[in-house]
């Protein structure tokens, strides 16, 4: 009899090696443990352990062998036992349960189990504690440290325990909330949540006083008190996360708000100017859609998952990526996800910031390297397990992300234009349609996620706001939808369950039919004891909501079930514009749809001109040009991110055509391309850009630079300039402060100006407005760390022909040319940060000049005149030259006889926008000059094919080996 199965690898695993190396301790061994809620008899123990282990590579521990087996590895004296907290998604346990049920059929039915990581160590207790901190997150896991002897004892006496979710078994009775109370009491409800009988609070609703008063007014008009479910629902639906109140608010004299005026306004203006069918579906759906070819639409969406990733980096990031995958599944009738993108803005992983959410060094922020590693692996597991390639991304480091990392996750999807003769991007839940919930079950995951991600991270942030994605459950569900349901038009509408859970998804879809009636007790639960309001707002992952005509319901459920996916009828859509929720036949929510969606008080925002924070001048360190190049190449924001590219599967689906690592020398590219259809040579090029470093100096130009770079990268990759669309993701800070709002307004204005100038429409976007950390430093002093305003522009474009795709590697004899003018724009550059800085300016984009360059480039590229090309961005010409040489492993000679009043350093490292470094074959030079007569260019050197890069000015030649530059460029980032 035993209640545990514990398995260890006979040989040292990769994980064990890296742990041993990291802690300089050879006596570390990891056991995969499974704790069962019931005792297993010997027969079951043998059967199950055989099912979940490998005879060849693993040993199963038993009461008999445990001592001998383990002592053969080392003389362990400590044990770290890491388990998930009750209720936290345990994907391994889910699989094991499935294996057992699948293979043992009826012989073993009702049981619970939890997966456990057991680390055995020989060492001092201090070291053990340190290791455990690196391996677990107390927010989602319990960590027990105890002597090895106790472990043996536990083993022999069946004392390993699984912790089950313990929820109050109190029956739910409809709860009415009295809002006729003082303003103070009212605002407490908003800030801390609804009060329970025992005076405890449910957790923040994120509702301000004005909103609560609007709710009070509504209910006094309909002459009854609101229920708790109604207040919870309104809090979700009206959250900043769901309604984007700041973007839609009147701001200064902009009555329609910045979203309507600048973002949507830009797209409307562009559609009017272009007069084509490029834009298919904009802003209204889960993702934005554009035309790919005559038969297919592609869609793109980028989301942020910042606050959850600060609390649980792995869980936050995996949920971020599988969550945005669902946005594609929920685009139109369901687009197939074909590529993921990522962008991380992180604190220096090599620094120890020592920040605490509470006084007296309590509730510490996770260390920066733990956050960085967790985020990187979260997206790895989410993307790889889903079979969606993740080719495109970037990482940027700055101390100001120490309080909150920014995690952008994006997905591209593809869908036929028409399905059974009907436009696929149009969907409409009809009155009478059944509401079907498919995918995972509902637990307490992420309760209050939507309301909480709109709030600053402070000591009262609820910990239950963390979810962990389960990519396999989602993959199973996704396959059924795309392959077995969609193309037969078996449902009329579909959307995903993300922030706000069912309350949001059903609420949004019901706009199409009128209203809805939901029976909450029908929703399948992970464990009993959830209150109806929790079921209604839970953010448990991997669920889609479908509107299915009654005639098809049986068929749809059957197809889901046949693939091991649950699907449950939970209500129906109705014509009447009412939102109605029942729980065991008692009506617990009954709201007018109009009030639910539009009843929130509109904000009226004022901005004020901020004090411009100019970069402090820094003395330029004296060193040689070569030395400076090495320093820049190895700086965290320029150094290669190859280690991420190789752990993200970018080849799956066999679509990768321009890969993240480019040239024989493997340079981390700033654009990638996939060819999504076997029978069409058209490709999709992807890129993205953000310049938080420019934001405090000039938010308008910061936004201009982001749009220019994201657009330019696609032009450089070979995309058709008429088929480029962009997405905006604003991550702001302190958006209740007038000077931050001024920056926001300026950035949005630039979005309009540059998008219209480039005629590249915004097709989708998202904002996250409060990325601030309020807490304490080590000395106990209260600190506030705000991220620099960050606008990520993601670009997606169509490349018409394979021959248009460019490469970054020049050939021997090529002439090197910089397209575009170089100005002294070193302020806030990588050079100024690393080397020093005198008098300079922030980069400003001149869209007219830029467009002339881009149009000429496009023309020349189509004619085959461009042999290789790379966009010039961080680190300027110097870094672009180095990357070309490293990628091609071919030497370059650069001529520095400069004509204008610009120094060598300013010329080589300035981050002036809208420039491209290209190489031209000699015999194309005349043709090149003909085309580029209307735009600026400078011939700067040639490709020699040697093994060095050399820079020549009037006096001397400076050179260094390409292999040395490559070494600097490929250095490991410290702390990762």
């Amino acid at each position: 009899m035993t209640n545990t199965i514990q398995i260890l690898s006979i040989e040292k695993t990769g994980k064990e090696s890296s742990l041993q190396k990291e802690h300089n301790n050879k006596s570390i061994k990891i056991i995969d443990g499974y704790f069962f809620s019931t005792n297993l008899d010997d027969q079951k123990f043998t059967k199950i352990s055989k099912l979940i282990s490998n005879d060849v590579s693993q040993t199963i521990l038993t009461k008999k062998n445990v001592n001998n087996v383990l002592s053969s590895y080392s003389n362990f004296n400590w044990v770290v036992e890491i388990k998930f907290l009750p209720g936290v998604t345990d994907n391994i346990a889910t699989t094991v349960k499935e294996i057992i049920k699948d293979n043992l059929k009826s012989s073993f039915k009702s049981f619970e189990l939890g997966s456990t990581k057991i680390i055995l160590i020989k060492g001092r207790k201090e070291d053990i504690t340190k290791i455990s901190k690196n391996e677990a997150n107390p927010l989602i896991q319990t960590i027990k440290i105890y002597p090895f002897k106790k472990y043996l004892n536990n083993f022999k006496k069946n004392q390993f325990k699984i912790e089950k979710v313990k929820l109050p078994k109190k029956k739910y009775s409809k709860k009415e909330i009295n809002l006729d109370i003082s303003d103070h009491q009212l605002s407490l409800i908003g800030k801390l949540g609804i009060e329970e009988i025992d005076k405890s609070r449910r957790g923040t609703l994120g509702l301000d006083l004005e909103s609560l008063k609007a709710i009070r007014n509504y209910f006094s008009t309909i002459k009854r008190k609101p229920t708790d479910v109604e207040i919870e629902t309104l809090a979700q639906t009206w959250s900043e996360h769901c309604k984007h109140k700041i973007f839609s608010a009147k701001i200064d004299d902009i009555h329609e708000g910045i979203f309507k005026k600048y973002i949507k306004g830009a797209t409307e203006k562009i559609i009017q100017l272009r007069k084509d069918n490029f834009c298919v579906s904009l802003f209204t759906d889960n993702a934005g859609g554009i035309e790919f070819n005559n038969d297919w639409i592609i869609c793109h969406k980028v989301e942020t998952h910042n606050t959850p990733s600060a609390l649980d980096p792995f869980g936050g990031a995996i949920t971020g990526i599988v969550g945005v995958n669902r946005d594609c599944l929920g685009f139109g009738k369901g687009a197939k996800p074909i590529a993921n993108t990522y962008a991380y803005y992180l604190a220096d992983p090599n620094k120890n910031y020592q920040l605490y959410r509470q006084k007296n060094n309590n509730d510490p922020m996770l260390p920066a390297n733990f956050i960085a590693k967790g985020i990187i692996s979260g997206v790895r597991v989410g993307g790889n397990c889903s079979g969606i390639p993740t080719p495109q991304g970037n990482v940027y480091f700055d101390d100001r992300f120490a309080g909150k990392p920014l995690v952008f996750c994006g997905t591209v999807g593809i869908i036929p234009k028409k399905i059974k003769g009907k436009l696929s991007h149009k969907k409409k839940a009809n009155p009478g349609d059944i509401i079907l919930m498919a995918g995972g079950r509902v637990g307490k995951d992420g309760i209050h996620g939507a309301t909480f991600s709109s709030e600053e991270l402070d000591p009262n942030s609820p910990v239950s706001a963390v979810q962990i994605g389960d990519p396999i459950t989602q993959k199973k569900m996704s396959d059924v939808i795309i392959r077995e349901l969609r193309d037969e038009n078996l449902y009329s509408s579909i959307t995903d369950n993300g922030a706000g859970g069912l309350s949001s998804s059903i609420g949004e879809m019901a706009k199409e039919s009128g209203g809805f009636i939901v029976d909450l007790e029908k929703v399948p639960l992970k464990y009993n004891g959830l209150y109806p309001w929790e079921i209604w707002v839970s953010e448990s992952q991997e669920r889609m909501t479908l509107a299915v005509p009654p005639a098809n319901v049986k068929k749809v459920i059957k197809r889901f079930n046949a693939r091991g996916v649950e699907a449950t009828i939970i209500g129906k859509f109705i014509k009447k514009e009412k939102a109605i929720v029942k729980y065991n036949k008692t009506e617990i929510l009954n709201l007018d749809m109009e009030f639910l969606h539009e009843g929130y008080p509109k904000l009226n925002l004022k901005t004020s001109f901020p004090k411009i924070k100019k970069e402090k001048k820094k003395i330029i360190k004296k060193s040689s040009l070569i030395d400076k190049l090495h320093k820049l190449l190895s700086s965290t924001n320029i150094v290669s991110k190859e280690f991420i590219a190789t752990q993200y599967d970018h080849e799956v689906q066999a679509t990768s055509i321009i890969k993240p690592l480019q040239g024989e020398g493997r340079v981390f590219g700033n654009a990638t391309a996939i060819k999504p259809l076997f029978d069409d040579e058209k490709s999709i090029a992807l890129s993205q850009a953000a310049y938080p470093q420019y934001a405090e100096t000039n938010p308008y130009d910061m936004a201009g630079c982001s749009i220019d770079t994201a657009y330019k990268n696609l032009i450089v990759s070979g995309a058709n300039s008429k088929k480029i669309a962009i997405l905006d993701n604003f991550c702001w800070c302190s958006s209740d402060e007038p000077d931050r709002l001024y920056q926001l307004k300026e950035a949005a204005k630039a979005c309009y100006d540059y998008a219209v100038a480039y005629q590249t429409p915004f097709i989708s976007g998202k904002d996250s407005m409060f990325n601030d950390f309020k807490g304490f430093n080590k000395a106990g002093k209260s600190v506030k760390i705000s991220i620099p305003p960050t606008l990520l522009i993601s670009s997606i474009g169509v490349v018409d022909k394979i021959s248009h795709l460019t490469k970054i590697t020049p050939d021997d004899g090529d002439i090197l040319v910089v397209l575009g003018k170089t100005r002294n724009e070193l302020q806030n550059s990588v050079y100024s940060k690393i080397i020093g800085y005198k008098k300079s300016k922030n980069p400003v984009v001149n869209s007219k000049d830029a467009l002339r360059t881009y149009r000429n480039f496009e023309k020349a590229n189509k004619l085959g005149i461009i042999n290789s090309a790379i966009g010039i961005d961080l680190g300027g010409i110097g870094i672009a030259v180095a990357k070309m040489a490293i990628a091609s492993k071919k030497g370059l000679t650069i001529d520095l006889k400069l004509k204008n009043k610009i120094s060598v350093d300013q010329y080589l490292f300035s981050e002036t926008q809208s420039r491209i470094l290209v190489s031209i074959k000699k015999n194309n030079l005349a043709n090149f000059k003909k085309i580029f007569i209307t735009s600026d260019y400078t011939i700067i050197g040639k490709c020699t094919g040697s093994d060095v890069i050399e820079f020549k000015d009037n006096k001397k030649i400076m050179r260094s080996k390409i292999s040395d530059f490559a070494k600097s460029y490929k250095q490991n980032i410290k702390g990762l």
Binding site: D55, E98, S386, G387, V652, I802, K807
Partner: protein
């Protein structure tokens, strides 16, 4: 010539694998494991059984393990039967891990699995292109091929083989692909040429008949010339190296 491409529970390379077979002339179908379990007789309609790459069951309890157990419980005899006929079986990446866990490869002493797939030595997932050489002509899948340039993408690609078994594997010529370096010499465990630390640089094994091939690299991802890294700088034919493997299957039945 019909190919059955398996899907379900997180397998994810079925579309491109089927496409590769179709281009060389096969007719084929993607069939969900549950449908195959429901009606195993349909196996009779196929000459090739392909288990594509992916992340069946999220690699939980070891890559390929859970799916292998599902097959063992429900389809084992039918699959053994298939492997004993004049038919072909291919397992790519996760498919390779599943075949190894089923014991269909190397299948020297039947039934129980003899080889294990374990975590890469680097401890991390590796998505990169490698060169492999064909170590013998045992398998029809690899006939007339000397080297291949293909991508790998896996977390657990290391073949773990007990010493005695390795001897008989070698004696029976069952090592079919091995990682090589830039000079076409065996990688000798050297990263990144050997991306996972596999002993003897093993990238693929066959059974004794050679009709069952379990390979970690992905031929379907190196099918067209534009799949190859930096294809723009190279003079290439229409197809990449992966094509040869699928063509060999066609030739086998021609």
């Amino acid at each position: 010539m019909n190919v059955l491409v398996l899907s379900g529970y997180g397998i994810n390379c079925e579309n491109e694998t089927l496409h590769a077979f179709e281009v060389v002339g096969f007719k084929g179908k993607i069939i969900h494991i549950n449908d195959l379990i429901q009606n195993p007789k349909q196996l009779n309609n196929y000459q090739v059984f392909a288990i594509p790459g992916g992340f069946s069951y999220g690699d939980d309890t070891g890559s390929g393990n859970a799916m292998a157990k599902k097959i063992m419980t429900n389809l084992y005899d039918q699959l053994i039967d298939f492997s004993l006929k004049d038919k072909l079986i291919l397992g790519i990446c996760n498919g390779c891990q599943i075949l190894i866990n089923l014991g269909l490869v190397p299948s020297l002493n039947k039934k129980d699995p003899e080889v294990a797939m374990i975590e890469n030595k680097s401890g991390s997932y590796e998505c990169r292109w490698v060169d492999v050489k064909v170590s013998n002509n045992k398998s029809p899948w690899l006939e007339n091929i000397s080297t291949l340039n293909l991508p790998v993408a896996h977390q657990e690609g290391q073949f773990m083989i007990p010493i005695n078994l390795l001897k008989s594997i070698k004696a029976n010529n069952l090592i079919s692909l091995q990682y090589i370096d830039h000079h076409k010499k065996l990688a000798k465990g050297q990263f990144p040429f050997n991306p996972n630390g596999s002993k003897d640089d093993i990238a693929a094994l066959t059974n004794q008949n050679g009709n069952v091939l379990a390979m970690m690299p992905h031929p379907e991802r190196a099918f067209y010339h534009y799949h190859i890294p930096n294809w723009q700088s190279k003079t290439l034919k229409k197809f990449g190296d992966g094509y040869k493997i699928f063509m060999n299957a066609k030739k086998f039945f021609a």
